[in-house]
Amino acid sequence: MGGTVSANHDRANLLEVRGLTKIFGTLTACDHIDLNIAKGEIHALLGENGAGKSTLVKMLFGSLEPNSGEIFWDGKPVKITSPGAAKKLGIGMVFQHFSLFEALTAAENIALSLNDGSPISSIAAKARALSYSYGLPLDPDSLVGDLSVGERQRIEIIRCLLQTPQLIILDEPTSVLTPQEADKLFETLERLRSEGKSILYISHRLEEVKRICDRATVLRHGKVVGHCNPREETAASLARMMVGSEVKAVVRAPAEGIETAPALLEIRSLSRKPATPFAIPLRNINLTVRAGEVIGIAGVAGNGQGEFFESVSGEVLQQDTGSVRIRGKDAGGLSITGRRLMGAAFVPEERLGHGAAPRMKLSENLLLSRHATDGKAFVGSGGTVKNGAVYSAAQRIIKAMDVRKSAPDPEAAALSGGNLQKFIVGRELDRKPSVMIVNQPTWGVDAGAAAHIRQALIELARSGSAVLVISQDLDELFELSDAIAVMHNGELSTPLPIAEATFEKVGLLMGGAEPGHAEHSLEVA
């Protein structure tokens, strides 16, 4: 830890960053960042969410203007004033939140970033040839809106490569890939390195950083806290550098007697037509979650998980009321409140705007979601709100979940993502629901808070509730699930007991290699 690695001293630096600083209002997102990237190396940029990684990269790509600091390209000082200027220097970027146009074809998307005036057909041919030579096959004529997230990322990568950049920045590239697709990407990156290109690789997945990166720069709270050679570190030591303290490991006691426990949540032949032309239909989903167990649903984003959550939570009602059953009773025709009254609780994926009203206080958000189920506790006779009771319940949740905040009862939008997520999960846990359904429980949450949330979900299950977790994070699902099912193209595989599940098996299912159940009768287009 500390200091650069000698192996790279003989190489010239392609990019040097000195004292780069970016201030948003009172927040210093990047505080005097120093960074050197040598020619022909894969350099990792590590840090938790909010550590300033994205801000730094946006400054390097010209989408944000630094407040101070210098950037040297090939030893010469440069000002990167726009993405166009960055491209001219030879910097290419693969974005985390894709910058693709859904209503256009892959070839048109690629043409837009090239501005060389050559006809679309010749660009399409070039893109096809390049994509096959790198083993990332691509159909240039397909409409982006119809493609999976993994395929969209291929377009981003091919588009970047066609600009023949010297430095390629990849922002969390594997967060939307199956393990097999990620392997393919690593091969591509290693080939690019052997061609003398430099790569800045941003990730919070430590195993892959250890596997492919030559050097790493670690950020915490907007500052560089160290440089290291990831191959000489362990995942635990890297995590300590990122977080600044030890991360408590999640403990999962073995579940016992589950086979005979009552089924609290049953999904029976649940199907749904696509709501919009680019949406995924649900195809004949069957799943049982019993008291005492945690079932995880894995899958690449955009394979129907959101549609599934909406159907189970009651945001969308089912015509067949028996397709969703809670505690042995049909619930398919009931609204969210109706399902909550049966003992279910839901945490949606989007925290602000869906899970919580941003400009309302935490206590008000608590009342909004629980006025029906806890009517007696929170609402007096004549419909007046018992403010005192709501406030003290909010404080109880804040204490139980260790929510860090700046005021006694702040607005939801004033909390950091991780703390708000802890409050929202805590708000549902506080009811001791017998069925708990969570979509992306720790998305964008720092490691400490994530461990806290996961532990709380396991404990809820072990106390006799049924817990269903939908997540894109495989590490998380392996940490907390008793069985993992995989969603692919609107179909759900049969759950694999955790003892039999491996990354490879789950990864194959995520790629759609072998659908769990064979029938594909319901083709709704």
Partner: protein, 306 residues
């Protein structure tokens, strides 16, 4: 026979200003900007065109003035919504109100004055061929401009790189910005083009349709043009179809009223709107195509973070 030709000619005259204004607005909306000020820009074009034509005696100078006035007036909208990121709906509505008021004030001295009219095309020997000659070679110049404009916009949007860039900005201005496309510059040009078209449409009203100045003479045509764009799901040839259906039913119901058909005149007057909406809804039933052609960032202000 002559009656039929005359009816067809009046349909074209009624449809032309709608088509021109709608094609302009289509380009604006394809870039992701919603300009509800079409009615205001149109009436400003009408008064500017009439004024310049009246003062110089040349209808061609009038037509040019109409285009320039429409473009300048739209520049006001562009500065407000693009540079100052005001709400596009509110700004567009105020542009319409401002245009209606301002044109009335400017036009007080023009009321009742005889205007100049753009002459119809007349190619000796050809324009006098029965039926075809008059329909194809004997109309007013703006009619030909409107058809050429539609074809040109279609080619521009779907066959050129610049058109592709414009559509991409309408789909996602954040993605376009991330690629280094100059979103604001493209939108400025699109809005000004839309303004010039609305101005030209207004000029057609006061220099061809009824060559005189009457307050509020645009009579809601700007709003119909706006509706045409949406119901045509942002596709140029459907805008053309919509404008001509509207024009045909409009002229048809006028004749029906004149014949004294025992149907309430209010119902007949509402027919063009009804018929246009029904037809355009029917031809845009394909949800997928509609989704693909709807500019996803329509109406959203764009402020790049620096």
């Amino acid at each position: 026979m002559d009656i039929t030709i005359n009816i067809l000619l009046t349909i074209a005259t009624a449809a032309t200003p709608l088509l021109i204004a709608a094609i302009g607005e289509l380009v604006v909306e394809r870039s992701g900007v919603l300009n509800l000020g079409v009615e205001g820009m149109m009436i400003m074009g009408a008064v500017g065109g009439f004024g310049a034509g009246y003062l110089t005696g040349s209808p061609w100078i009038g037509l040019l003035a109409a285009i320039i006035v429409g473009a300048l007036f739209s520049l006001l909208f562009a500065v407000m919504t693009l540079s100052l990121a005001t709400n596009q709906v509110a700004t567009g509505l105020s542009l319409t109100l401002l245009g209606l008021g301002l044109s009335g004030m400017i036009g007080t001295s023009f009321v009742g004055q005889p205007g100049v009219r753009l002459p119809n095309l007349d190619i000796p020997g050809i324009s006098s061929i029965p039926v075809v000659g008059k329909l194809v070679f004997g109309q007013d110049p703006v009619f030909y401009i409107s058809i050429a404009l539609t074809a040109a916009v279609m080619w521009f949007l779907f066959k050129t790189r610049t058109g592709l860039t414009l559509r991409s900005i309408g789909d996602s201005h954040t993605s376009a910005h991330a690629l280094g496309i100059k979103v604001i510059r493209y939108r400025y040009l699109a809005v000004i083009f839309g303004g010039a078209c609305a101005g030209l449409a207004g000029g057609h009203l006061s220099l061809v349709y009824t060559p005189q100045w009457v307050e509020n003479m645009s009579a809601g045509r700007g709003w119909i043009a706006l509706a045409l764009v949406v119901f045509a799901s942002w596709r140029p040839w459907r805008v053309l179809a919509g404008a001509y259906i509207f024009g045909a039913v409009w002229i048809g119901q006028l004749h029906a009223q004149a014949f004294g058909i025992p149907v309430p005149s209010q119902f007949l007057s509402s027919l063009p709107y009804l018929a246009t909406i029904v037809v355009l809804v029917l031809i845009s039933r394909n949800k997928r195509l509609t989704m693909m052609n709807t500019p996803a960032s329509l109406g959203q202000p764009f402020v790049p973070d620096r």
